[in-house]
Amino acid sequence: MLGTVNKMKHQMMLFFFQRGNLPSLLLASRKKMSLKSERRGIHVDQSELLCKKGCGYYGNPAWQGFCSKCWREEYHKARQKQIQEDWELAERLQREEEEAFASSQSSQGAQSLTFSKFEEKKTNEKTRKVTTVKKFFTASSRVGSKKAEIQEAKAPSPSINRQTSIETDRVSKEFIEFLKTFHKTGQEIYKQTKLFLEAMHYKRDLSIEEQSECTQDFYQNVAEKMQTRGKVPPERVEKIMDQIEKYIMTRLYKYVFCPETTDDEKKDLAIQKRIRALHWVTPQMLCVPVNEEIPEVSDMVVKAITDIIEMDSKRVPRDKLACITKCSKHIFNAIKITKNEPASADDFLPTLIYIVLKGNPPRLQSNIQYITRFCNPSRLMTGEDGYYFTNLCCAVAFIEKLDAQSLNLSQEDFDRYMSGQTSPRKQESENWSPDACLGVKQMYKNLDLLSQLNERQERIMNEAKKLEKDLIDWTDGIAKEVQDIVEKYPLEIKPPNQSLAAIDSENVENDKLPPPLQPQVYAG
């Protein structure tokens, strides 16, 4: 018991350590201590229970043997040290980047990296504005506040930034490689995209709607320019647009996905809570034409749920849309297998609603908002992806509005289910609900089967024992009978008879026999 408690404490501490990034020195001493605490189960020394600092209070293994007060002091010291180190690392990285930047451009040696970048961009903006920028961007690029820039630069999370930059770098490389195939047009596109990203950099303080509008304008301008000036065939324009979207949205993602200035996150939590509250909704209530008892169908349902959850992990709006489309295809398959005919929209929407309720995809509203704001608009209003996305929007809107009537329930039942007083599952006459997941059902079946087998096994064992007993009884019986008979008729062996010659010697009846026939001689 003590061991498990200690273990839990260690886990908790590990958590703190991970968050606080304590130096390895402390980790090593923690290991030593854990050994000690394991030994303690056998032998407890009074001195070991006291605080290591000798303040007289009892120590705690979770606090490295310190009492709470001393521990806090020690921990604070270590944490300060770590923060100091982090700062130094961040500053070093900044310096390095600055130097790299300064060597490529004759920079004026500003204090912080982003600030110098900021200055650089501003001068760039000034010089290029006259020539190209104005042509592409009608909206004037407002200058972001310096304060926000510097604060962001100082945020001590270099590891996260580096991680994301790896992916952005990869996407950038791919983008450049892709554009190389278009030679001059590619160069032009790259220049425009760069300018756009720079312009967006200064628009971070604007409302998300304004940023979205800028992005949409950019999409439209670039596509038009390619067609009219670059004379790019339409199929290729679409391809290039896809790549542009991928490139810019990978870079903008962290600033424009679920931004703090909006209530996206609040909406996310609201819908998540709502879906959780609706956990009791059964496919029957929604009239979902999917029979999950068919293994293939439940397979499809699981796949559809996985796809819709996966949507959150994608960065590019188009990839998110692709997840929705994949999910929808699986739903259609599930319906087709159940009904044996192609599904119509009348079947599809309820099933999608059911999948969303079952999956409770993370950050659903944020994702929808993000796609609406930053996806290439032509793809949202038309095309297959657009169709499925619209269906998802409908499903979410429906879930938000869902009431007793839409589930064919009485208001009382609905309220009771919503408040969690009862569950429709409990009212089922069977001991498990018919819509429980297949695994659980299978388990119940197997348990049933096992108990039946058990019974039969016992019966067989009984019979076998009986048979054994019978057999023993039978042998005993036979042996006894044989014994009886043997006793009743004792075996007596008579002495052997006399010689064969005297066989008739004692035969009295021989005297009465007629005399033996004498041979008669006939003349002849």
Binding site: E209, S212, E213, Q216, Q220, E224, Q227, P233, P234, V237, C287, S328, K329, F332, N333, I335, K336, P342, A343, S344, A345, D346, F348, L349, P350, T372, R373, P377, S378, L380, M381, T382, G383, E384, G386, Y387, Y388, T390, C393, C394, A397, F398, K401, Q405, S406
Partner: protein, 213 residues
């Protein structure tokens, strides 16, 4: 969301047909899907969707012009009525389908029209009223004249069809296509006139060039 609800304009790419989005509206089991399936299937067996029949595309050749229909089927159950306005976004045409053997479905079609009117300016979308299931003539509850009168009073196109017997199905879509092209043509003329009047050098994007070839 404002930018997403912007005025619909077909994607105009030279050498390719314009894309028109057509929404199928109506109560459940009036035959929306069957209508679309019949229309798409009859001429193009190969493009028949393999799993779902909720989203279709079909290219229509129309004399010199050609256009591409994107047919969006919608869930007709009444409980989804409140969310279905989302489907309208960016639509160019709508078919209001009802079942001639069900008065209710006819009333619902009128309800759908009201929803459409809320979302669109008059004349912005081509709306057609379609009475389906003429093969069940003996159970008819909605008279031909009734439908026609209603359509005329609201300025809608009107036709009765039978998806089962393939009666007048193609005609429905052709009529919508013709109307769409005519409107496009008119819009183009207007734009040109306005351009000439105002002597603008830059024409508004996405309108002027559509369906010229």
């Amino acid at each position: 969301m404002a930018q997403a609800a912007a005025a619909p304009h077909p994607r105009a790419t030279p050498g390719q047909p314009c894309v028109f989005k057509l929404v199928l509206l109506g109560s459940s089991s009036v035959g929306k899907s069957s209508l679309a399936l019949r229309y798409v299937k009859n001429d193009f067996k190969s493009t028949l969707p393999t799993v779902g029949c909720a989203f279709f595309t079909k290219v229509v050749e129309f004399g010199a012009a050609s256009l591409k229909f994107e047919i969006w089927d919608t869930a007709g159950q009444e409980k989804y009525h409140s969310v279905c306005h989302l489907y309208f976004r960016g639509a160019n045409a709508a078919l209001l389908v009802y079942d001639i053997t069900s008065k209710d479905s006819f009333c619902m079609a009128q309800q759908w029209l009201k929803d459409l009117e809320k979302e669109f300016q008059p004349g912005e979308v081509v709306v057609m009223l379609v009475g389906n299931k003429t093969d069940l003539g003996e159970e008819r509850e909605v008279m031909f004249e009734e439908g026609k009168e209603f359509a005329e009073s609201k300025g809608l196109l009107f036709m009765e069809t039978s998806a089962r017997l393939n009666h007048q199905v193609t005609e429905v879509f052709s009529a919508v296509a013709r109307e769409l092209l005519q409107r496009e043509e008119r819009k183009k003329d207007q734009t040109q006139q306005r351009d000439a009047r105002l002597a603008l050098n830059e024409r508004p994007a996405g309108q002027a060039k559509c369906c010229a070839h």
